[in-house]
Subunit: 134 residues, 2 copies
DNA sequence: GATTGTAATGTAATACTATTACATATGATC
DNA sequence: GATCATATGTAATAGTATTACATTACAATC
């Protein structure tokens, strides 16, 4: 039984930056946030992001070209995670909905399509933002 | 009762290019294809794409930064269309799966999230490409 | 048919996102 | 300490999208 290797310095920096953010960050936003720590080139960020995604610690939001720290407790239990993105405040909610997974799996089965990964992203207004102003 | 305005020259050029393609095309690929017709700048393509998307004649594939002509007969009947993208041959299948829509709507309802649009994209291997070589 | 308002177009410049290529360093294993 | 794999550093470049401004086309109105 192997133990997961520790995160490297750059990986930790990137993950911490994402975890501290309320909203998704672009690779370049991460880079700018980490310039004080000595990062200088986009590739340093992209490489860290790649490793973090492989471990499931970070997700890419395709419709934003941006990244978020994993915020779902059971993320490893399903391959198909969905994201709800608020257009107003930018927050992202990560969730797994069995019915969605079933629906996509069903279609795939019927059409002999082998799913490798999925991007499921809904955009709209979150509950906080649709509440009448206090 | 208003009649939908006819497509403009650039819009027609872009739509025809997409319709003739077996796979999604990037905006710049479209531009290159249309240089012989006189197009010169990215914006000419992006503007046409924007109008075509408003009409539902073209969809953007978020995970590819590319565009496809609408290939779904009932596309107007639901707001939530899904795409199956083959990693091998690049073809895109557009489909609506009721269970997926229900699942996402259900989550949205429970969390008071107002859905404005959705991007549902599965990546994998299509039936043609997974068949043993003939 | 001149005037006006709107939508579409043309062009240039710039901003944003991501990858390729190559050099160097670090740390474990033998 | 030689070797190998992984992580880093840096520069250059490729790919995607938008801002800003000038011009043209065209229908509606006067
Ligand atoms: Zn997650
Ligand atoms: Zn919100
Ligand atoms: Zn469609
Ligand atoms: Zn295929």
């Amino acid at each position: 039984m192997t133990v997961a290797a520790a995160l490297t310095k750059n990986q930790s920096l990137v993950l911490d930056t994402l975890a501290a953010s309320q909203t998704p960050l672009s690779a370049y936003a991460i880079l700018d946030a980490l310039r004080p720590e000595g990062l200088r080139a986009p590739l340093q960020v992209y490489r860290a992001l790649e490793k973090l995604q492989e471990r499931g610690l970070v997700h890419r939001i395709e419709s934003l070209n941006a990244f978020v720290a994993c915020g779902h407790p059971h993320c490893q239990e399903t391959e198909m995670i969905a994201f709800a993105i608020c257009e107003r405040c930018g927050t992202v909610d990560e969730f797994a909905e069995e019915k969605v997974v079933e629906g996509l799996s069903l279609w795939a089965e019927r059409h002999a399509f082998t799913i490798q990964k999925a991007a499921i992203e809904i955009r709209g207004i979150c509950s906080d933002c649709s509440r009448p102003a206090a």
